[in-house]
């Protein structure tokens, strides 16, 4: 597989970040950074990472299935993650999730037909004092109201 030069540089650095013979340690970071570039963990990526860190594809697959941020299917260009855990729930995050679903016309875990947006209800994202919070891809948004969310999603839609 070919990756961008930046990602290759990151991989090279990762492989040097662990003791000799322990390159398997680079597996999870490699999978996540590669997923960011290609959109999902494909069979081809599993093979590639297995080969680069010196394990079997099965050993990569058992790791992929464990971590919630690693996913085999493609998500929307903008992956909207709504935290509904306790501190956010106390600020009506469950209603915010429902509002997000209505706004985008998809269910939790769904992807819009144009592939632009997807929704995921997530566990605590470490934004408890600024609740309710969401993440769009890796960007945090704090003290989110339905109106703020509408403006954010409308802005992203125009940006396409």
């Amino acid at each position: 597989m070919t990756f961008s030069p930046q990602l290759e540089a990151r991989f090279a650095k990762l492989l040097e970040s662990y003791p000799a013979g322990r390159q398997r340690a680079a597996m999870i970071p490699m999978l996540l950074y590669a997923q960011d570039e290609i959109g999902s963990v494909t069979d081809e990526l599993v093979e590639e990472v297995a080969q680069r860190v010196g394990v079997t594809p099965l050993q990569v697959n058992e790791v992929v299935s464990y971590y919630s941020m690693l996913h085999r299917e493609a998500r929307g260009k903008y992956h909207v993650q709504v935290c509904t855990n306790i501190s956010c729930l106390l600020h009506d995050a469950d209603q915010l999730l429902e509002h997000t679903c209505q706004k985008l016309g998809i269910e939790n875990h769904g992807v819009t037909p144009d592939g632009q947006f997807s929704i995921e209800e997530v566990e605590c994202m470490g934004a408890c004092s600024w609740a309710p919070a969401i993440q769009v891809n890796y960007d945090y948004h704090h003290f989110v109201t339905p109106e703020k969310l509408d403006r954010l999603l409308d802005g992203l839609r125009k940006k396409q």
Binding site: A25, V63, Y67, S87, L90
Partner: protein
């Protein structure tokens, strides 16, 4: 920059650079006594460093509260194996958002804390395991590490002391369980985040089976202040047996949510009323979680006279935990809050220990039925029984972390469970929307 309006009641030690211009830069750090504690420690013996840490009465700030100096002293320094430092930045305990603030505002303080630990146990490499969602913090830490290398505060022969140290960031990929130290080590090695059977403890066989100091971000961040001003000075900020300050995240139904640095032993009532500006909309306090969702919940009555420290919370059969305070007002449905927590633990159980895997799933199933009005009177006892059968029967604390809040809520708020019986709609919800399981 994540930074709330500070409170005059704070004791700002770890957070003293928050709010300064470019607080994250090495220039600001060096201009404000940065890396001076490392230089001081480099002239001390490892035993002297560890005795300062012990004198500080610093207890692990991730939630378990184990004395940090003692943890460092368990590392066999004469072992022929390399020793490592691992920072737990997998902040995921619901209600907790303090490590994020520490890394964002003052990344060099963390690096210096790691270097001090390195001197104390003769380690020359370390990793900061940062949860995957905190990608921007990985970038901030990577920049700070690069700055430290450029200025000679990391790498070979640091500032001519003859001490070498390399530090790396390592991303997680979505797993609460990886905040548990042995699961974190498995994850660091490129495996599923399943806990290890202990002993051996990480101090003896940690990262890559080598002796390892593994602490929370906040614990390492306290080390520079302890070395610079002495362990006794840090200890004096708190109370006997619990030294120093704690970054406390006020969350939930409060007027001024935010992260505040408070001395150990700070009164709970004063924290809510004065630091947090009181209950939102003038409502009454119903329930209080002292430090993350894994702590048993306290009632408003139990908060009377309580202070934010290990012993006061233990007397109330709860825990100080991680500093993630969750404040719930009189309009909160405790059944719904409990259901959401059980859903969380069921999602995050690694599935290795059967009492946790099955217990969290059953608690979620029964709670879901209960909250939607389909519960029976027997279910109330069943919830407590299932939870009690999970306690102490798992290799890591996740099983207990689910069982303890469940037991406390069902015991202390039994009436609310009864209010949901016989198909009655949730008395706290206008729409009677159900949390989807």
């Amino acid at each position: 920059m994540l930074y709330n309006e500070p409170s005059p009641l704070e004791t700002r030690v770890l957070s003293r650079r928050f709010g300064m211009a470019h607080s994250e830069s090495i220039e600001t750090y060096l201009a404000t006594e940065g890396y001076q504690a490392f230089l001081k420690a480099s002239k001390m013996t490892p035993d002297e460093i560890i005795s300062e840490m012990k004198a500080s009465n610093l207890r692990g700030r991730g939630g378990a509260g184990f004395p940090a100096g003692m943890k460092w002293s368990f590392v066999p320094r004469t072992s022929p194996k390399p020793k490592y430092i691992v920072v737990n930045a997998d902040e995921g305990e619901p209600g907790t958002c303090k490590d994020r603030v520490l890394m964002e505002n003052d990344p060099h303080q963390l690096i210096e804390g790691v270097l001090i630990a390195g001197l104390a146990v003769d380690a020359h490499a370390g990793w900061i395991y940062i949860r995957g969602e905190y990608r921007y913090l990985i970038d901030i830490m990577d920049r700070a590490i690069a700055e430290a290398h450029e200025r000679g505060w990391l790498g070979k022969n640091i500032q001519g002391t003859g001490f070498d140290f390399d530090l790396y960031t390592h991303t997680g990929a979505g797993s609460y369980e990886c905040g548990e130290e042995s699961a974190l080590l498995e994850s660091l090695e490129g495996k599923r985040g399943v806990p290890r059977i202990r002993p051996p403890f990480p101090a003896v066989a940690g990262a890559f089976q080598c002796p390892t100091v593994l602490n929370n971000v906040e614990t390492f961040c306290a080390a520079p202040a302890i070395l610079l001003n002495g362990g006794a000075a840090f200890a004096a900020l708190g109370i006997p047996k619990a030294g120093g300050t704690k970054l406390t995240c006020l969350t939930g139904h409060i007027n001024k949510p935010g992260v505040y640095e408070l001395r150990l032993g700070f009164p709970v009532k004063q924290m809510i009323e004065e630091v947090g500006g009181g209950m939102r909309n003038g409502k009454k306090l119903k329930a209080f979680i002292p430090g993350g969702s894994s702590c048993p919940v306290l009632t408003a009555a139990e908060c009377e006279g309580a202070t934010m420290d290990y012993d006061s919370m233990a007397q109330r059969k709860s825990m100080l935990g991680s500093g993630g305070v969750v404040i719930m007002d009189e309009d909160t449905c405790m059944v719904k809050a409990c259901l959401r927590l059980m859903k969380f633990y069921a999602h995050e159980s690694c599935g290795w220990c059967i009492p946790c895997r099955e217990g969290t799933a059953w608690l979620t199933k029964i709670m879901t039925r209960f909250h939607s009005g389909g519960g029976s009177p027997q279910d109330i006892g069943l919830l407590g029984d299932i939870a009690k059968n999970m306690l102490g029967r798992t290799f890591c604390p996740l099983g207990d972390a689910a069982a303890l809040p469940m037991i406390s809520i069902v015991e202390k708020f039994r009436g609310e469970f009864e209010d949901h019986l016989n198909g009655k709609p949730c008395p706290y919800e206008h729409s009677n929307r159900m949390v989807t399981a």
